[in-house]
Structure formats: structure tokens, C-alpha cells
């Protein structure tokens, strides 16, 4: 065969499939582009399922990824690789063509979030333990920098804060927040040594999650115990403004009704559609709509449970909301579709027990939903709201579409 390599009229490519059993049930290797893959976390088995979202075909699974509770995934620029951050600090680089683990390393003992630098060169991981952030080489996952998130307590002693984030920006910054330190740090990934070029203090009580607006310009941080969110113009980096969110505490609950906070909503799945932002209320059965010019409340929209992921359909005409609800109750089966023009629920879908984390295909004609309580991934036609396909999956949770590769903060 070597003789052919020189003229290259045709070539043989040998691909090694790493994970055992990755291709069970398939009789021939599929050839596929990587721009529209769905990577689904199968939490209990420490593995991911990789699905072609054009044909809705399972490509395979990759296992051995650590403790995947609240696992987070980002993609290399060409979407060949998925980088998975496991709760136990294991960072895995999955080759989505070879369907194997191309590299693996520990970023810490307890990790929460991951991002890839604008130039595709580095991975940043936010850790709970030890508190801080870690920069890894995206080729090898070698740790190239540790950034302890040190803050000073009121008594003058120093400690390391748990961090949340990070998010990448168009200027190749990485932004993360210090949960205990009530701070937001901005790291410049273009500079030698990855310095924290800004440290905003006293942003509010207990940052818990964050987002970059779809236009790439603004950073928003949510605060568990403050009546505002922080807003930062990443072009100017001139200070955190406050967005009033007292509305989220004005309950619509009936008297005596209790709605526990089952999960803390994740900001990155807040929805921004046109000039409206759709925000899940804590421990309340409603979605709050803000207009993003002055960040005033436009409306609160009642839904069936406490919303966790609030996701804009590509094109911005609908918002899809899951409900964590009471375990075993009807709320946690329902996915609701909000009409963006009318600002009301136009459709309620009974997607099954524990349906969470709607993720659209890149142009929004289909939506993938993890039905945790029924060990399956459901695919809906987003025009007709009908089920078109089911994949068996062990306790599926987060779903990540590879078109995130070209989006800031995702």
C-alpha cells in the first residue's frame, strides 16, 4: 500500500475505535461530518452517546469518562473533539470521528465547568476543589497553568473560592466567578501566563452561573442571594452593572403552596430571543421575561413546574422549557413551548418521566430531550410537536449539539 501513498490518487484511512462495544448493532462504519452531532451524557454509566442529528442515527458511545453528574461539554473548533468535564475532575478529550478517548487528565478533585479558548489552543476548567481555575493544552490536556481563586475573608484570612464558569469571549478572554468571594475574574488568554486582567469585587452574594449574550458582547452573572444580576460589557470591562431581579421573588404561588428548589437553573440555558430574555424563576412555577434594553420585566409566564432549562429555538420564535416539578408528579413530565410573540404557553408536551434539557438541532427543526426516568433520549419534530425517534440511554442528562463549536460562551 505504501506505493499509493506517494501519488495519493486514493488513500486508506485506518481509524481505531477505542471504547469497547462502541459500535454494537452497527454493521458498517458510518462516514459523517461533525457539524451536527448530538453528544448526550449518560450520567450513571460515565459515558456519552454520540448521535448524528441529521439522520437521527446513533453513531456510538464512549465510556470511562468519570463521574458525569452535572457534566459539561465543549467542542474543538472543527467539532472533531468533545471535551468533557466530569464532576470528579476528570477531563476527557473525545475523538468524535475515532469514537475513542484521545486524551485524559485531572483538572482537580471536583470540577464544574469547561470552556475552550477562542483560538482553539486551550481548555479552561472551573473547580470547586481546589477552588480556582486550571488551563490545559487542548492538544494533550497537559495542565499549563493553575489559577487559585484566592479571596480574603472579613476576618482577614485567605481562602480559595469555588469557581463557576468559565465562558469564552470574542476577544479571547475567559470569565469566571468566585462563589465565596463574590467576585468575577477576567483572564486574558492571549497574554503569556494567562493573567487575570480584571478582578471585579463585591459583585453580589454567591455567583452561581453565567452567560454570554448571543451577540457576543455582554456577560451576565446570576447571584443566589442578591436581588440583582451582574452585567458586564466585555468590550469595555469597565464594571459590573446591576440588573434588578426582585421579580423572581414575588411568588405566584397559591397561599400555603410550597415549591421546593429542586435544582438551580443553569444560566447557559437561559434564552435570549430578539430583545427579550427568558429567565427561570427560582422555586417558582414561572418564566420571567425581561426586555434587554433596560432589563425591566415584561411579563411572568406561568408554567407547570419549576423550569430548569429555558431554551430558544433557532430563529427565536419559540422558547422551550423543561420542568423539574415534584418528583413523580405530573410537572416533571412536561415540556412547555412559549410563543415569543404572544408571550404565553402555546403547547404542552408530555415527554415522559423526568424529561429535561431540550437541545435543538442547529436549524431547529428537531429537538432532543433526555427522558431520565425512562432511560431514553426522545427526538421531537419541532413543527408538529410529535415524537419522531427514541434512543435507549442510561439516565441521560445534558445534551450538547456540536454547532456550539462556533458560539461564544457555549
Amino acid at each position: 500500500m505504501a506505493g499509493y501513498a506517494g501519488s495519493m490518487t486514493w488513500v486508506l484511512v485506518l481509524l481505531l475505535a477505542g471504547a469497547g462495544g462502541a459500535f454494537a448493532g452497527e454493521s458498517a462504519r458510518k462516514v459523517y461530518g461533525t457539524a451536527a452531532l448530538m453528544v448526550v451524557v449518560e450520567r450513571e454509566d460515565g459515558r456519552v452517546a454520540v448521535i448524528d442529528s441529521v439522520e437521527h442515527e446513533l453513531i456510538g458511545r464512549v465510556a470511562g469518562l468519570g463521574d458525569l453528574r452535572h457534566a459539561s461539554i465543549v467542542f474543538s473548533r472543527d467539532a472533531r473533539f468533545a471535551f468533557v468535564a466530569a464532576r470528579d475532575g476528570t477531563i476527557s478529550k473525545i475523538d468524535l470521528l475515532g469514537m475513542n478517548v484521545a486524551a485524559q487528565n485531572k483538572a482537580g478533585d471536583r470540577s464544574i465547568g469547561i470552556a475552550i479558548s477562542r483560538d482553539n489552543m486551550y481548555i479552561m476548567v472551573c473547580n470547586y476543589e481546589p477552588g480556582g481555575a486550571v488551563v490545559m493544552d487542548s492538544a494533550t490536556l497537559e495542565v499549563v497553568k493553575e489559577i487559585p481563586a484566592e479571596f480574603t475573608r472579613p476576618d482577614g484570612s485567605k481562602s480559595r473560592a469555588r469557581t463557576v464558569g468559565p465562558l469564552d469571549t470574542a476577544d479571547n478572554l475567559m470569565i469566571f466567578a468566585l462563589m465565596e468571594g463574590n467576585a468575577v475574574w477576567v483572564v486574558d488568554m492571549r497574554q503569556e501566563g494567562f493573567p487575570a486582567v480584571r478582578k471585579f469585587e463585591d459583585v453580589g452574594d454567591t455567583p452561581y452561573d453565567q452567560l454570554i449574550t448571543p451577540d457576543g458582547r455582554h456577560y451576565i452573572v446570576g447571584l443566589l442571594n442578591s436581588d440583582w444580576m451582574g452585567l458586564l460589557d466585555t468590550w469595555k470591562l469597565d464594571g459590573m452593572k446591576r440588573i434588578d431581579v426582585r421579580e423572581r421573588k414575588t411568588a405566584l404561588k397559591k397561599e400555603g403552596e410550597k415549591v421546593p428548589l429542586h435544582h438551580i437553573p443553569h444560566f447557559e440555558s437561559w434564552a435570549i430571543a430578539g430583545r427579550l430574555a427568558f429567565v427561570p424563576a427560582f422555586a417558582e412555577k414561572r418564566v420571567i421575561v425581561y426586555e434587554t434594553d433596560g432589563w425591566t420585566v415584561v411579563k411572568s409566564i406561568p408554567v407547570s413546574g419549576t423550569p430548569l432549562f429555558v431554551v430558544a429555538r433557532p430563529g427565536g420564535r419559540e422558547i422551550w422549557v423543561d420542568n423539574v416539578g415534584e418528583p413523580g408528579g405530573p410537572g416533571e413530565r412536561l415540556v412547555e413551548v412559549i410563543d415569543v410573540e404572544r408571550l404565553e404557553v402555546k403547547k404542552t408536551i408530555d415527554a415522559g418521566k423526568g424529561a429535561i434539557h431540550p437541545q435543538f438541532t442547529p436549524k431547529g427543526e428537531s429537538v432532543y430531550i433526555s427522558v431520565q426516568g425512562e432511560d431514553r433520549i426522545a427526538v421531537y419534530d419541532a413543527d408538529s410537536y410529535t415524537l419522531v425517534k427514541d434512543f435507549p440511554a442510561k439516565r441521560p442528562s445534558g445534551i450538547f449539539s456540536s454547532d456550539r463549536a462556533s458560539k461564544f460562551g457555549l
Copy 2:
């Protein structure tokens, strides 16, 4: 080998490279994701060059694509395939993994534009000859529907109009304009037989190009001989509003200066950044800035030549403008960078003779520019405005990044 196919612990994949000489100069086949490929039209040779925009490496070339003057390219959802519309009506489906022509067919005798339906199932091509649009199966390029763009002349006779477009929307519509008919038609790709569900008449004199706003909601059509553009809300489809563009005729030219219209600017490379639109003026050396709420003029920004492609850097902080200028004059060498906050030119780059069509990598850290008069493709670092790489290429023109696969109207 057949025995291995059952257990599938590892598999062999055989890829046939179609075009002769596709891999000249490469010693081993590269494995790559498809989400960040640059496909560059080499006009005179009827071929395209395919470049990995992460590593800035030439992957190969595919030839035999017809007359590529004003060629237009769209991508399949997974970005494995590029669909190329040649001026002579040849439509080619290029396999960007196999680097060969996977299918080819004629859409007409003279084609101008191409789009792929939201569901990845169909290609639509706009033709000058015969006037109208053609729908092809995206798998085979078989023609499944012809849509003659018939209009009635003032004298009552009927004729077929040249069409421009089409553009795809989030509702799986295709929209195109009739150059002679002064009309805009909307085809519903979800319905059997692809009916034209709306035909807007008298939209203005001679539509020449169009765009979908980045939020996916609005369609805008440019008119060669009217003092307005047409604006359509694709959610409502309730009529074409008029945007006043008389500003484009209020020349900034010195008395006696003549600035010929070398090329008609292409709308799809108008830039919208935040709430500002950056529009090339016809035959004038300036870019007009509109605010997109009321479409009033904010400013006219002088540039060195007549701008052709006006492109927003991902993140929206800069607008890059090429200049067709006087052939052989200094203007046609220059690419200018407009600062979106200050609304003025912050940097002028001498990119070489006939530098056109800046195309950013998906997150905007690099920009590819065709330097037609010097037979090369230049790659600039977009932060430092320095040249980082050159690729020899025969009269390069349009450059298309495969992250367009997930964007409406591109």
C-alpha cells in the same frame, strides 16, 4: 477483514479521493472535523480549494465544477458536503471528507444562487436562464420541481424573470426575488409540491440581492433602481415595508470625480452588528450605517474604494470592508477595518492587488482574503492585522466557511 465487521472492535474505512491531483504535495491523509473548513472558489480553474481553518492547512482541491464566476456555496447540515452553484447552471455536491464530486447535475443554463432547506433535504437554485427556481434532492441532485418565475408585462404578455436568492428561513421557507417582475416569492418547503405561498408584487424596481437578519426573523431585499429596500417579517409574511435608502445617492464625491460601479455589492455580505447595519453605497467610496429599529441613517463612513463585501467580525466589534476601487489603483489593494463603537476606520491593510471577500474563521481570530491579482489566499491574524499565512491559488474569489451550515440565509 469481513470477520472484524461483526465485532467492530476496530474497522477499516476506505475513502476514495475523486479529483485527480487532489492531494498533491501531501504525504499522509489528514483526519479532520468539518465544522471549520474554508472552501475557496478558484474561478478560472473551475475548482475549489479546501482549507482547515484551525491549523491553516490546505486539505486539497476539487475540480470540474463548471464556470465559477460569481459561484455560490452552501453546506449540508453536518458540513460534510458543499453544494456549489456555477454560473453555467452546473450544481456540484462536493464530499469534503472524500474530496470528490459526490453528485452533479444541471439546474439551468445560467444560475446565480443556491440555498439548502432547513431540514437538509432539498437544494433550491435561482436561475437567470431559464428564469425561475429549481428544487433538487440534496442526496442525488435530481430535479424534483421547477418553479418558473412568470410575470406579466405592462402590455399583458407573459415572460420568465431572472431570479435572485434564494434564502432559507427558520420556518423552512425559501424566499427569492424576481429581477424583472419586481416581485418577491415565498416557497414553503414543508408542503407537498413546494408551493409559492406568498407572491409580493411591486416591491420596487429590479431586486438584485437579499439577506436574512442574523436573528433569523427578517428578510431584506435590495433594489437597483428604487430609493428604498424591502423589509419582510418572515413570522407574519404580511407585506413588504420600505426602508428609505436615499442616503446612498447623496454622494461624498469631489466635484468632477467619477466612481464607476465596478460590481454590485452582495447583500449576503452586508453586516449587521448589534443594532447597526453596515451597507455599501453604490459607486461611492463609503459605507452607510443604519440603526435597525427605525432604519434611519446613523452615519456615512468614507473608505478608500467602492466597498463590495462588508463583513462583521464574530462578536460584532469590527466591520471589515474590501474595496474594488479603480483597477490597478491603490483602492483595490486595501481592506479597511471599521470600529463599531467609534464608527470610523481604525485600520487600513494593504492586502495586495485585488483583495476581496474577507471571510472570518467561526470565532473571528483569523480572516481569509482572496488576493485575486496575486493568485493567493491571504490569512490575517484579526487581532494584530498581520499576515500569518499565504496559499497559492488561481484567481481566488468567494470564500465560504463551513460554519455557515448552521446559519439561516447563508
